[in-house]
């Protein structure tokens, strides 16, 4: 039976700091632009080729101001525009053939200091953008 992954233990490491237990959702998109290369002589259908790739990783964190927590880790990165390592594992942080760790060098965009309403958990959805091609680490 093919695996039908239920997300339970996604690991999130930001600049080597493990923020797994502060994260609640992840989206990794490495889509390429769709470039229309339709030419004369076709059969009436547009033709597309993949263009430039872009990597966008969205992670929603619960905000926290504890030592080495979400704010202390992300705030400086959002202010200095430095590139750093981001690693996300579908089933924990231990790489394996059935748990490829998505690893890339990124920059942080879209930091939200506070977000929420009365009585609700303050969440901090942030956007990381790859600065180059990512790798999938399957070596335990």
């Amino acid at each position: 039976m093919p695996e039908k992954l239920i997300l339970r233990d996604v690991s999130v490491s930001v600049d080597s700091t493990d923020l797994t237990e502060s994260a609640r959702s992840v989206t990794i998109d490495t889509s390429a632009d769709e470039v229309d290369v339709t030419a004369f002589g076709g059969d009436g259908w547009r033709e597309f080729e993949p263009g430039l790739h872009a990597g966008t990783i969205e992670v929603e964190f619960y905000q926290g101001f504890d030592a080495s927590g979400v704010h202390e880790t992300l705030w400086p990165l959002s202010q200095t525009n430095e590139a750093f390592a981001l690693a996300i594992g579908p089933k924990g942080a231990t790489a394996a053939t059935d748990n490829p760790i998505f690893t890339g060098t990124v920059k942080l965009f879209g930091y939200r200091f506070l977000q929420g309403e009365v009585g609700a958990a303050s969440t901090n959805p942030v956007t990381f953008r790859l600065t180059g091609a990512p790798t999938l680490d399957v070596t335990p």
């Binding site: 600049d15 080597s16 700091t17 493990d18 923020l19 237990e21 502060s22 504890d66 030592a67 080495s68 927590g69 202390e72 880790t73 400086p76 990165l77 430095e82 750093f84 390592a85 942080a93």
Partner: protein, 55 residues
């Protein structure tokens, strides 16, 4: 190799809080981690030459 201790409340580079580990961290990575208190720098592991000199 440099010796570090995880001083933050969450794991760092696969090492648990309070754990001491050796690594060759990138200069900027080390600076950021030290600044935010994720790790503290311990004494560098002595080289073979230093160990010989000390003996």
């Amino acid at each position: 190799m440099t010796t570090y201790k995880v001083t933050g409340s969450v794991p760092y580079a696969g090492h648990q809080p309070g754990e001491v580990f050796e690594a060759d961290l990138d200069e900027n990575q080390e600076r950021r981690a030290l600044e935010r208190g994720a790790i503290s720098k311990s004494r560098a592991k002595p080289t073979e030459e230093e160990e010989t000199t000390d003996a």
